[in-house]
């Protein structure tokens, strides 16, 4: 009787392991896909390129207004400080957009004008950049 019972239990145990492994596999895959598909990297890239091109195109004494609604939404989701989303390195003439703590995207601009962030992303979804003549 015992022998029969042992043989009968084997497939059931195997089935349980099989189901657990399948669920685990699907869970890991879903986590990966959902974390990759929020588009953080793509948004970082597109925002930094858009802002760099706007700076390059701007004439002196211009204010550039960029809608950062999606960027702010992602940053909030990733618990990232809103005031650190856009950083301008005046010396290196580069703009860095970070929507998450684990990295960002950098773009250079060729404009020699002084560029500074005028608005505060903590209070609004709009980024205001001030372009002034360096002379």
């Amino acid at each position: 009787m015992n022998k029969r019972g042992a043989v009968g239990e084997e497939p059931l145990f195997e089935q349980i392991i099989f189901i657990i492994l399948n669920v685990l596999f699907i869970a890991v895959l879903m986590t990966f896909v959902s974390s990759a598909s929020d588009g953080t990297g793509v948004y970082e890239q597109s925002y930094s390129k858009q802002i760099a091109l706007l700076i390059d195109q701007a004439k002196a004494d211009t204010n550039i207004i960029v809608n950062m609604e999606k960027a702010v939404e992602i940053a909030n989701k990733k618990s990232w400080q809103r005031d650190k989303i856009v950083q301008i390195d005046e010396l290196g003439k580069q703009i860095i957009v970070r929507l998450a703590p684990n990295g960002g995207y950098v773009m250079h601009y060729f404009s020699g004008y002084n560029v500074s962030i005028k608005g505060d992303l903590n209070n609004s979804d709009v980024l205001v950049l001030e372009v002034k003549d360096a002379n």
């Binding site: 084997e10 497939p11 195997e14 089935q15 392991i17 099989f18 492994l21 596999f25 895959l29 990966f32 896909v33 990759a36 598909s37 588009g39 990297g41 793509v42 890239q45 597109s46 930094s48 390129k49 091109l53 390059d56 195109q57 004439k59 002196a60 650190k84 010396l91 290196g92 003439k93 860095i96 970070r98 703590p101 684990n102 990295g103 960002g104 995207y105 950098v106 773009m107 250079h108 601009y109 060729f110 404009s111 020699g112 004008y113 003549d133 360096a134 002379n135």
Partner: protein, 175 residues
């Protein structure tokens, strides 16, 4: 069906579910999904042609003053960076941006040529335009008819601006 029966026979008793084939199929599906997602979401946005066009436009905007070349352009101490509001550092380091301005007379002879950035871009642009070369710069060329002063005489000529960009952008690590 035949293959399935063979596989079923090959798997030992008690390995109907956790067979090596199952793990293989799982790995294959996983790799396919991960690869597909990574390929889709790591899309690169190439804006070099737009950047080159903006640069050419800005140089032209700066040097063309209502159909006349800026009078300072033909002087020896003309500083294009200061006059046009370009960053000297952006053109001298990183091999990212380039422009070449050629003022020529009505018969096509160069009166004054001025350039900034890596000179290799001048030739690389032609290579990049004729072949599919990802790491070669992308350029834009603009030409306008223009009037200029040569030893006090007003002459007609053309101003050609060739601008190039090879900026791909890049990811930076955590702070």
């Amino acid at each position: 069906m035949c293959l399935f029966l063979k596989l079923k026979m090959l798997t030992k008793k008690g390995e109907r579910y956790l067979s090596p084939w199952w793990f293989f199929v799982l790995a294959l599906i996983g790799a396919g999904i991960v690869g597909g997602v990574l390929m889709f979401y790591s899309a690169h946005i190439d804006l070099r042609s737009v950047e080159a066009d903006i640069l050419a436009g800005r140089v032209l905007d700066c040097l063309d003053s209502n159909g006349f070349v800026l009078t300072e352009y033909n002087t020896a101490n003309f500083d294009i960076f200061k006059t046009c509001g370009f960053s000297r550092e952006a053109f001298s380091s990183g091999n990212l941006f380039f422009f070449k301005v050629n003022l020529s007379d009505s018969s096509g002879n160069s009166v004054r040529v001025m350039s900034a950035g890596p000179m290799s871009f001048d030739k690389d642009c032609d290579v990049g335009a004729s072949t599919k070369a990802k790491s070669y710069p992308v350029c834009a060329t603009r030409t306008v008819s223009i009037l200029y002063l040569d030893k006090g005489i007003l002459k007609e000529g053309s101003l050609t601006v060739k601008a190039g960009s090879n900026q791909q952008g890049g990811r930076v690590g955590a702070i």
